[in-house]
């Protein structure tokens, strides 16, 4: 968003929570992601084969769900003054099917100092929920964030 102020490490509090708007995951999302990534696994692209699977239909790529939640949460919070994305720990707990609507719930879990005084590390806990309130993906992301310049 134009002119949207980025939040510095100092201003972000442990325990803060954020909630994204909902987003319906469509067949188009899956087709575009298959084309972009080159991952044409039958799980995501063969409707007939998937009728015989435990899911009964095509499901979204796990990494598509991860990528969508990342963009979706930016619509539910003011951006951090992020220097770098350091890493993540992530679990895919259930399928996202065509037509499912997901939301992202996140919470600041931890703030850590670093050797450099102008920055710190923030760990966010994230849950991706479907329209039934089931957690389909969850994990933690670590980002390096600037402190307010003196």
């Amino acid at each position: 968003m134009a002119g949207e102020e980025r939040r510095y490490f100092d201003e972000i509090q442990v325990g803060e929570e954020y909630l994204s708007p909902g987003r319906t995951v469509t067949e188009a999302d899956i087709v575009i992601f298959a084309g972009l990534s080159g991952d044409y696994n039958v799980l995501h692209t063969d409707a007939e084969f998937m009728k015989t699977s435990i899911f009964g239909e095509r499901i979204a790529h796990g990494l598509l769900g991860l990528a969508i939640q990342s963009g979706l949460l930016t619509r539910g919070m003011r951006p951090f003054a992020t220097i770098a994305f350091l890493g993540l720990r992530w679990k895919f707990k259930g399928p996202i099917k065509i037509g499912d609507t997901i939301t992202v719930r996140a919470k600041v879990l931890e703030k850590r100092d670093t050797a450099k005084p102008d920055r710190g590390i923030i760990t966010l806990q994230r849950q991706v929920l479907n329209q039934k309130g089931e957690v389909v993906q969850e994990g933690e992301t670590d980002v390096m964030v600037e402190r307010r310049p003196r």
Partner: protein
Amino acid sequence: MFYFEDVVVGEPLETPALTLTEAHVVGYAGLTGEWEPRSTDEVASHRSEGGGRAVPDLLPICLSSGLGWRAPQPPLAILAFMGFEWTFALPLRLGDTIRSRSRTVAKRSMKDGGVVVEEREILNQRGEVVQSGRLTLLVAKRARK
């Protein structure tokens, strides 16, 4: 197809390479709705270290799963991606060329299929590890005759 029984612990697998283009970055931003200035604002990106638009951090792992399908080995019969841990070591910029290198570090048989733990690294054109981590996959067993 490469089934659970075919997976050999320790055997390395290297994918072909792929050049990261503006089309990848714009397509990814549109699909995900993640419009970070560092990857979509040419002017702002020059104020940061390195300079120039960066590739969104999660895009390379997405591309590496597609590259895996082009490796010189039949594709793994993946039933589900269970989870992964991932570290971002170095940024990637438009025009960089990535490839991925992986090997199975553990496998565990289950009733239906088995769990395979894979270590994966994404390398740039200079051979530097830019991202790496450990993936846990549920893989199908060969159907009994």
